[in-house]
């Protein structure tokens, strides 16, 4: 059994036909983690005892002839900013070291109810702030395709766990590209659903108006299956959208009929790597071959997206992270000189550099005298970016872009230059500002063997078409 060569539905079929036992497979998964994760370092916490207990319970169900759930015995990894009852949730931050969640996030709960087995919690940039998983307060995760390169971020641990054959499925969260960038860098599929599609209950907030949970897997089909389980209304999340969840898998293999795909001219930026550009142009041809009409479109405010994003996200973060003050969660420091002393010393010692930088930037953007100039202006530019997409979706059904302007960069390459790190999010950030669904699909590797990803964006709640188009691409690309 090698997780690199099997999909979730085939694994469940193996169990159903009694060709493999869940206990045997989950034991092998932990052996693989032991072999691989010493160098990749995707996991912060392993849940071996609980996973094997779950495995034995499902094996008993099979022995008793009980019907299986759609993901029975399928190993999943969870980004460590989602709560799992009785297990630590650190968000990759020293400030939450040792904090144990008293409840389970809705998305995780739904996966577990569908039979999935949580093998562990994965590394991330501290509080999901970063594009490389180097900002973790504990250690950096490495790209399974080349250990000298980053896996992307912030959900780098989840992407690396799937790419490294240590889990079949993983959950991540995406605030400005944190699912799609690591999916692209690690050569797996990653989906950021429409804002409101998946409950954020139990997801530790970074920027609440942008955050969304989504899946990683090796195939579009598996991601669609996970989405059909985790999407849907949740009364515990006040921004959860009460819209019906379509059967994403039903027509996923159907050929595309008269689909119009837009390619935004503003995405051919100077920093676009020539090999990524050439591969992207090849991807356009793949869609032409699938009978789609390709139209050049314009998203004129794209160049302002990163500026607007880093004001809005940091402003929301500075407010969301105010709760880490040493009173209720994790670490507590100082206090000799009173309460304020405890707040400052706890936060100084607990937060890493990037988190402090973003809290300071966000606090500045919200402070008296600067609110209108920075935060309010960014919110107005967000309106313009949303209107760009509304206009575009009047002409086309889907938008095709590269996921990232480059392949995975080297560890350490951008760590001292926060602005250049921010600029690497240029193709993924607009999707969060506009609340759209997006998917990164693998499109082969470059000459150095590093994966390249291509991104599809859909209109709000149009995941069905987006997944169908992604699934068609996946098959056509392999046949080339």
């Amino acid at each position: 059994m090698n997780l690199r060569n099997i999909t979730a539905d085939k694994l469940v079929a193996l169990y159903q036909n009694r060709d493999a036992s869940v206990t045997e497979v989950i034991t092998r998964v932990f052996e693989e983690i032991e072999r691989t994760d010493g160098s990749v370092r995707a996991f912060l916490t392993l849940c071996k005892d609980k996973a094997l207990e779950d495995a034995r319970r499902i094996d008993k169900k099979i022995a008793d002839g009980e019907p299986l759930e759609p993901l029975s015995g399928v190993p999943v990894a969870i980004k460590d900013n989602m709560a799992l009852r009785d297990v630590t949730t650190t968000c990759g931050s020293k400030i939450l070291e040792g904090y144990v969640s008293p409840y389970t996030a809705t998305a995780v709960e739904r996966l577990r109810a569908a039979g999935a087995i949580v093998v562990g919690k994965t590394n991330l940039d501290e509080f999901a702030m970063g594009s490389s998983t180097e900002n973790s307060g504990f250690f950096a995760t490495r790209n399974p395709h080349n250990l000298d390169h980053v896996p992307g971020g912030s959900s780098g641990g989840s992407a690396a766990a799937v790419a490294g054959g240590m889990s079949l499925i993983a959950l991540g969260s995406d605030t400005g590209g944190s699912i799609r960038t690591p999916a692209s860098f690690c050569g797996v599929v990653g989906v950021k659903p429409t804002y409101g599609r998946v409950s954020r209950y139990g997801l530790v907030a970074y920027a609440s108006s942008l955050d969304q949970i989504g899946p990683f897997a090796k195939s579009v089909r598996e991601c669609a299956q996970v989405l059909s389980i985790i999407c849907g209304f949740d009364p515990y999340d006040s921004t959860s959208a009460n819209v019906p969840v379509e059967p994403f898998l039903r027509d996923i293999d159907q050929p595309l009929k008269e689909v119009r795909i837009g390619v935004p001219r503003e995405y051919f930026v100077p920093g676009l790597d020539p090999e990524v550009k050439a591969r992207f142009e090849q991807c356009i041809k793949v869609y032409e071959g699938l009978g789609c009409r390709i139209d050049e479109i314009s998203l004129p405010h794209t160049e302002h997206a990163i500026a607007a994003y880093y004001l809005i996200a940091t402003a929301e973060a500075s407010s969301n992270l105010a709760r880490y003050d040493g009173v209720r969660y994790g670490v507590r420091k100082g206090g000799e000189a009173g309460l304020a002393d405890m707040y400052r010393k706890t936060r100084m010692n607990g937060f890493g550099k990037e988190v402090k930088r973003r809290i300071l930037l966000g606090t500045y953007a919200l402070s008296a005298g600067y609110y209108d100039a920075y935060y309010l202006k960014a919110m107005k530019v967000r309106t313009l970016i949303l209107q760009d997409f509304q206009n575009a979706f009047g002409q086309v059904d889907l938008i095709l872009t590269p996921t990232s302007p480059t392949v995975a960069f080297r560890i350490g390459e951008k760590i001292d230059d926060p602005l250049s790190m921010y600029l690497s999010d240029i193709f993924t950030i607009t999707c969060n500002l506009a609340g759209l669904p997006g998917i990164s699909i693998p499109a082969g590797t470059n000459s150095a063997g590093l994966p390249i990803g291509v991104q599809l964006l859909g209109n709000h709640f149009q995941e069905t078409l987006m997944l169908q188009a992604a699934c068609n691409f996946e098959k056509a690309f392999l046949l080339q």
């Binding site: 500026a307 300071l360 606090t363």
Partner: protein
């Protein structure tokens, strides 16, 4: 916009953060560069544009009836810790 070390100190105080002296200079430089970058938004005339605070305005969000229902969740936090002890709140000047 040039951010000085004094600005860093002031904003850090607002955010209840303590920044080490050797970090102030580096942070002032990085924040200056980031703010210089975001100044580009000033090239846009947004005087007639409404801000977007909520993306999906036509979606009915979860507003529940104001009634007591049993739930597992954050209320369980109180099971392990009955109260949170904090240092002295009022200190001498």
């Amino acid at each position: 916009m040039k951010i000085t070390e004094a600005d860093v100190e002031y904003v850090a105080k607002l955010a209840n953060l303590e920044v080490a002296d050797n970090e102030k200079k580096e942070l002032a430089g990085q924040l200056t560069r980031i703010l210089d970058y975001v100044e580009q938004l000033n090239t846009l005339d947004v005087s007639a544009v409404a801000p977007t605070t909520q993306i999906l305005e036509n979606v009915k969000h979860a507003i529940r009836d104001d009634s007591v229902v049993p739930r597992t969740g954050s209320s369980e936090a109180g099971k392990t810790v009955k109260y949170f002890k904090v240092p002295k709140v009022i200190t001498e000047r």
